[in-house]
């Protein structure tokens, strides 16, 4: 009897946590990502000691297979692939997270305004989203990036701008269904203004779906960044993303001499990260929405 009572008393969040804890794939993904973030963030501390400097070149040791001094081998300029893969994690994750943040800000703001305002405003705003959906956005990104001088900011803006539409739709749907609920009416009765209602009552309740979708957006963005790198539309600066590493590596893949380490290590890192983000996103979705 008591056990059943306890279960009934658990908050939805607590239930979600339990469900998530049971999902081994999602947990493993979570651990992997944490580890990756820690390694990527702390790697500059080890440079010169445990880790080579990712920018240090040694032309006479170019394209060497993995060895004790270079566990992942060296690239065409004799740079250490291990150090570059770790440095690449920093850039790729940064691009993924920041562009997702752009998506979040635009999508959540747009979606909640449309959802909360309702009526004609909602119709117009959502029609606009429908129209934007039909625009070949990624082509505008390619145009933008190849036509103008590239900057980090532009890359985030461009990638984020493509992805915010779905986020806006999701948030709007959530807000629409939430705003008819009792607690919103109660808040309204107490005299809370629209901004307060949205930010204090509606958004926190829509947070779950937002987090899930944001988690699933990060891998899409990382992949798109690598796609742009391949087209030569790279992030400017000395630091290279995984996409850049891989597009350099692809240049070295040919039937005569396969420098496999160039593609295998950064490629696995990228694939593992994207897989982990997808597992994590799926796990969160299942945990928050068991249907």
């Amino acid at each position: 009897m008591t056990g059943k009572n306890e279960r009934a008393m658990r908050s939805p969040l607590e239930q979600a946590r339990r469900r998530f804890a049971k999902n081994r794939a999602a947990l493993a993904a979570c651990l992997f990502l944490l580890l990756l973030v820690v390694v990527a963030a702390t790697s500059p501390l080890f440079q010169g000691g445990l880790l080579c400097d990712p920018a240090a070149q040694d032309l006479s040791a170019a394209l060497r297979p993995p060895s004790a001094s270079h566990p992942f081998g060296t690239d065409a300029l004799g740079r250490d692939v291990l150090a570059r893969t770790i440095a690449g994690a920093r850039i790729s994750l940064l691009v993924g997270l920041l562009a997702t943040l752009v998506t979040l800000v635009i999508g959540v703001a747009y979606g909640s305004i449309a959802g909360f305002a309702g009526g004609a405003a909602d119709t117009i705003m959502m029609r606009a989203v429908d129209v934007l959906y039909t625009l070949p956005f990624i082509f505008f990104v390619i145009l933008l990036l190849s036509l103008f001088e590239r900057s980090f900011l532009m890359l985030f803006a461009a990638l984020g701008a493509v992805q915010w539409l779905t986020m806006a739709r999701m948030v709007r749907g959530q807000i629409l269904s939430l705003k008819e609920r009792d607690f919103v009416s109660a808040a309204r009765a107490v005299g809370a203004g629209p901004i307060r209602i949205v930010s204090r009552h509606l958004l926190p309740n829509a947070l779950g779906i937002v987090i899930v979708y944001a988690t699933l957006t990060v891998p899409v963005i990382i992949l798109q960044e690598s796609f742009l790198s391949f087209l030569g539309l790279t992030v400017p600066g000395q630091e290279h993303s995984w996409g850049t590493l891989l597009s350099e590596a692809v240049e070295c893949v040919n039937p005569v001499n396969i420098s496999w380490w160039l593609i295998v290590f950064p490629g696995s890192a990228l694939t593992a990260t994207l897989l982990a983000l997808n597992f994590l996103g799926d796990g969160l979705r299942n945990a928050l929405d068991p249907r």
Partner: protein, 523 residues
Amino acid sequence: MKKPLLIIVAAVVAAGLAAYLCFAPGRKPADFSFVLLSEQKSLDPAINTTLAGGRVIRALFEGLAGLNPRTLAPEPALARSWEISPDRLHYTFFLRPARWSNGTPVSAHDFVYSWKRLLDPLSTAEYDYMLFYLKNGARFRKGQLADFDSVGVHAQNDSTLIVDLEHPTPYFLDIAAFESLFPVNRACVEKYRTLWTRPENIVCNGPYTLTFHQLNHKLRLEKNPAYWNRARVRLAIVDAYTCEGINTAFNMYETGVADLIDDFPSAIADTLLKRKDAMVAPYLGTYLYRCNMATPPLDNPLVRRSLEMAVNKEEIVRHITKGGEVAATSFVPPGLPGYPTLTGVLYNPDSARSLLAQAGFPKGKGFPPLQLLYNTSENHKKIAEAVCYMLRKELAISLDPVNVEWSVLQEKMRTRDYQIIRGSWIGDYTDPNTFLDMFVTNGGNNQTGWSNSAYDSLIALAGQTLNPAQRMDRLAAAEKILVAEGPLINVYFYVTKFLIKPRIKGVYPNIRGYFNIADMYTE
């Protein structure tokens, strides 16, 4: 419920089958096929600017002279012979009887028309300067002269062309073999205007005609039955595939789709060099960086030489380009007949540091951060990153490689909005002048703001010199000034890198990667 689904499935399958069946092109296989690493802007001889396009144009059209594919010496082509006046200012070309592919005869008037078309004030030709050697050529082009009759090209009769030059130009026959000067068919050009080079419209006088051209895919050349020297043409059908990306091109070669590619993937260039089907020869081209004279401290020749000395060019050619390129210490590539190769700036990091100190930046202190611009390409990127790393390491200065698109690079160079910029120069004709006259004060391709009066006068003097040895001496003296004080960081001299299937004959190593498809044959 069930029916719509079935209809959809059936529709999808039918569409798939239809799409699948549409693929088969069903064309005769080619006798020889090669790869063009970029799509051609146009096959109009007046508009083309690329070497690869030149190869196709030489198959479609024939000029007064051609080059010997082994020695690059000018030889009679459409002109059966010529006479040159003792002052080397007047050329008389005697044309042989020949026909256009539409059956009309090729006459001296065709040349007058084609050259006028190139020089017309409204012409969009980029190689207009190839005819500035003609008397009054430049003036007519700039609109200072309205009457084309005063320009130095006249048809004495249908088969005699008289050409008058502005200055004695020892390499004029070489120019006459240049594709921009090839004749075009007036009736065809005037009828179809910009569309005249399309396969359905084109009229040509060369060994081949164009029968198919799909953009970014391929163009097909077939033997021209109206060509006067049909016996020379042994490959009846030739395909030129367009494919960007040297790796894809290499895959095409390896899988037998293409019989010739004119570059190597640099990652395996060293391995390919040793193969039997590789043909490698020095090439008349230099890979370099320009320094902007308007950006201090690059206006100081000590700084420029210091930078150049700190670049280990040997390492770059050995480990990055790997295709047998030669580290450059000077500007004019080796292999030009009668011209000495200068030993210029050698790698010496110690002297580089002391030069930099002499210029006021001991140990790089106070040296402003600079940017080195290069255009998007895997190779340019690697070289730029290596050069910047070398300079940062040896001289303790801050230099960053910055990648821009090709057209932006060109614009930055033209407006001189750069500090250090990647460039290259490929000779238009087999003479050092094609390299050296570009750095005269305000020369069209100077693009650096560098100016040196001694250099200018040496180049001008060489232009008036009839004695070949003396002329070469003067050009060499000019190059010495350029290398010592000039705005360039020369990196390496290009090489021709061909992979050719052993059954294909008739391609010879020369310093311009020059071959005529019409001279090729199979065994």
